[in-house]
């Protein structure tokens, strides 16, 4: 085994796998910083992967497909925002609803749209083409976009008045309200922003990374992204690092467990737990105890 090969493979793999996780985590950070919990990202990823492919094939352009996926994410975010922010509903239940809805919509949607059940291959003409094609896999432009979005979000959240207002809605909505900030508006917009990013990540799954749509394409990435958000202490740049680390060790574990020499010594099941363990240890180790925004997940109603 060539060590250089291994490093290049794992770096490219990590950047590739990180995109949906980081986009979702960063979106979730903004949403929760404003005080809205959304556990529906798993469903948003799945549905926008599906609709992203639909939009791309209708329009013939992968970029319109990506925007279409983000648009579906936005709609679902608006649904969640409407229920939690304006109707003061519970934050968990609509998320469960979205996850269940996605399972149904996609399972029925694949045969309804493409005539085949269970899976559909996205034609290569409407897939995002990589910047460079290497024998270790392509390097997608979405990697760059993800990094830019992360830094931009971080900057807005911590360096601008807009960010301060968003955070105040999650930390102390009463104080924010008394200063004339429309808590409902900021919370709603933050929720929609979070879901839109997840939608972008979902469309990336089908239109870029995997080139296929299946009934369970998201495979728990929405939940991993939520965990990553918590371990990163509700901080976009740390979420980026966390997502990268997870991707890196996820790849490394597959590489290592495929190696015949290693297989004889360590069972693959153990190696497969490494990405989770290492990510938790590193990310949580850096930041120590994670403290959520004070009003996270609590509906705010003016007295």
């Amino acid at each position: 085994m060539n060590a250089l090969d291994m490093i290049i493979f794992n770096l490219i793999g990590a950047f590739t796998a990180m995109v949906p996780l980081v986009l979702t985590s960063v979106g979730a950070v903004v949403s929760e910083r404003a005080g809205v919990v959304n556990i529906g990202y798993e469903g948003i990823l799945l549905m926008s992967a599906f609709f992203g492919a639909v939009f791309a094939e209708i329009s013939g352009s992968p970029w319109i497909g990506l925007l279409g996926g983000a648009f579906v994410g936005m709609l679902l975010g608006m649904l969640h925002g409407a229920i939690t922010v304006y109707l003061k509903g519970d934050h968990i239940i609509p998320g469960i609803g979205i996850n269940l809805l996605a399972l149904g919509v996609v399972a029925f949607g694949i045969p309804a749209v493409w005539g085949t059940a269970g899976q559909h291959q996205v034609p290569s003409t409407v897939r995002i083409s990589p910047i460079i094609n290497t024998s270790y896999g392509g390097i997608s432009p979405m990697i760059l976009i993800t990094i830019i979005i992360t830094f931009l979000t971080h900057w807005v959240l911590f360096r601008t008045p807009l960010g301060l207002r968003i955070r105040s809605c999650g930390e102390n909505p009463e104080a924010a309200d008394s200063l004339g900030i429309s808590v409902e508006k900021y919370r709603f917009l933050a929720t929609v922003y979070g879901a839109t990013l997840a939608g972008l990540g979902g469309a990336y799954l089908s239109l870029d990374w995997l080139g296929t749509i299946t009934k369970e394409l998201s495979s728990g990435r929405g939940f991993i992204a939520l965990a990553n958000m918590v371990f990163s202490g509700w901080n976009p740049i740390r979420a980026l690092i966390g997502g990268f680390l997870f991707g890196f060790f996820d790849n490394l574990s597959i590489w290592v467990s495929t190696n015949p020499g290693v297989q004889k010594i360590i069972p693959w099941q153990f190696v497969a737990t490494l990405p989770y363990l290492v990510t938790i240890i590193i990310v949580a180790g850096i930041i120590g105890r994670a403290r959520p925004p004070k009003w996270d997940g609590k509906p705010y109603k003016r007295e």
Partner: protein, 419 residues
Amino acid sequence: MKKSMFALFLIGVLAFSVVASGCIGGEKETETKTEYAGKIAIVYDVGGRGDLSFNDMAYLGASKAAKDFNLELKEVQSKQESDYLPNLRSLAKSGEYTIIIAVGFMMTDAIKQVADEFPDQKFAIIDGYVPDKPNVMSILFKENEGSALIGALAGLIAANDGKDTVGVVLGIEIPVLYKFEGGYRFGVAWAEDYYKQKEGKDVDIQILYTYTGSFTDPAKGKTAAQAQLGQGAWVIYQVAGAVGLGVFDAISEYLQSQGKEFGPPFAVGVDSAQDWIKPGVIIASMMKRVDVGVYKAVEAAVKGTFKGGIVELGLADGGVGVSTIEDIKEMLESLPEDVRAKKLEEIGVASEEELLKKIEETRKQVPDWVWDAVKELEEKIKSGEVKVPKAFNKDEIEAIRKAKDWKEMMKLAEEWESE
């Protein structure tokens, strides 16, 4: 005011989704008015028609049997897992059907229950294990034999190109998959020996294997295939359901990066003739001939040779095998016209002929003597001269992994058989 608007909106969404799901998932029943000698029924699992795999192949077999024996075929779609029991029960209750066939192991429990309720009704289940009911025929497949052919194909392609590594990407580590892995190993070992006798050169082909722990996440398959390619794998066999789609994509991307339209490296498909999914990338598929299984069950019921218990179909019965161009053609032709046209468009070919031509060309990348060698092994397994071990637990697969050559593996097969 605002609230009531939202409530109305939500009710609207709800009503729409109920209507929509009713439209999409309606129970499909085919009936035509002609004089039939009898009736048979087939119950699909949640995958349903159009999966280009299990259910479509079951339909192929059932419709062929219906035509050959002049029977009326009733198809029943299952929308969700909770439909299995009522579907089977209502068919059995009518008492009109010579045999009721359930497609897929997920229906095992439902079949057991209904078989007890209606002891006079004949049932067959594909891929389900029901050994002890007199009115249920369980049709299983010897995947180890089919996988041995794939192993031989992979091993010889690698040896022919001067490579020393092949791979297999598997799903969750469950005993059924040991059958595939063991058979594959046997085939590769056989190929080593064959190549040595043909070319007089020693080859030592190592097998990379990855249990991905999933049947649903294509990303896992893609990463595993990339890792195997990076470590030199020349042919990768996928035994992992939807995870395998990632394997195809990884190899396709690898070929693109080298500016090649055709492999090697190649992927190998599983269950149905998957060659059409990515022509140029997939050299062949290990087919589980569900159609043959269904046909045999109907035949047995019609001719009165039906017996409850396990029927295991291997190479000799045509139950497993390496996909041929004919298989792909048959599969394509079983699709409704509009679906077929759409599939061809997605693959990026103008017509069925063009697709088949491309698949043929893919196969021509491998010299004829390799295909002949695979045929030779097939004949030997059919005649019983060569026996492929069937690993069913951890100890057995470990024994195969440790075995030095195929003769040693065959000894294991004979040992296990006599037990």
